[in-house]
Amino acid sequence: MNFDKELDARGLSCPLPILKTKKALKDMASGQVLKVTSTDKGSIKDMQAFASQTGNPLLSSAEQAETYVFFLKKK
């Protein structure tokens, strides 16, 4: 998937991946896509909740060898 910005949140624990995601989205334009990689197991659920609460659609969420990859679209 194409993306405009990438955030490496690997090695960080809750709530840092979410806080850094929020920060990264802040500087992006509407419609742009952010790729987030994380190793926090809680981030699978948390990223879904973050997306629905903030209205930034979660385009996809996948696991690759204990790393979680998310694509979020800035609303």
Binding site: S13, L16, D40
Partner: protein
């Protein structure tokens, strides 16, 4: 006789009409109300107030984690720091400590060495813990090492993220007087020193209110 019957008929018809009107109004009102409530709910920014009362390294986490996350979700957040919670507003956070003494739930584990060594849970009796010099400082050091290793945020970092996200930090003036603190000891982002009468109206309007 005839006029009386006529009048009764009209009244009966009126009663039926009234009932029909009332029923219709009820149906319409309910629909309108539901739509209006949904509209109000969607337009309202969620809010949270927290009372932070603990001043140890471990208990410093819940208020700052919840506040920073809620702010990231776009909520309005205020934390009222009272009693030992005021330690979390000090300029110097290095003095925050954690102690397994008298806390049987706290696992004492070593952050270094091979996996089997790290998995050992050190059950040191309270009576022993209490006589080992600088035991608290040692336990705190071990905890900080573990925090760093597991990628858990540092308390100073979490607090900065809260400030950056616009979390409202409020301090209890009564505790400042009670413990003899000076306002200069606290970070300048503490905008208000106030009491319960200021906090309660904030909590009344909040969607989530927590005591930590």
């Amino acid at each position: 006789m005839e006029t009386q019957t006529e009048r009764m008929n009209i009244l009966a018809a009126d009663g039926a009409l009234d009932r029909a009107i009332n029923e219709r109004i009820d149906v319409l009102l309910e629909k309108r109300l539901e739509a209006k409530l949904a509209e109000i709910k969607a337009a309202k920014t969620p809010s949270m107030t927290i009372i932070a009362t603990k001043g140890t390294l471990d208990w410093a986490y819940p208020p700052f984690i919840l506040a920073s996350t809620a702010a990231a979700l776009g909520w309005d957040v205020s934390i009222f720091f009272t009693f030992y919670g005021l330690e979390l507003l000090k300029k110097d956070l290095r003095k925050l400590k954690v102690s397994p003494l008298g806390n049987p739930a706290m696992p004492m584990k070593m952050p270094m060495g091979p996996a089997w060594f790290k998995s050992i849970r050190w059950n040191i009796p309270n009576v022993v813990q209490s006589v080992i010099p600088a035991y608290e400082a040692f336990a705190t050091k071990m905890m900080k090492k573990t925090i760093k290793k597991t990628g858990v945020a540092d308390i100073g970092e979490l607090r900065s993220l809260c400030i950056e996200a616009g979390v409202n930090l409020v301090a209890c003036q009564m505790t400042v007087d009670l413990f003899g603190y000076k306002h200069e000891e606290f970070i300048p982002e503490v905008k208000e020193f106030c009491g319960a009468a200021t906090f309660l109206p904030m909590a009344k309007d909040a969607d989530v209110s927590l005591f930590i």
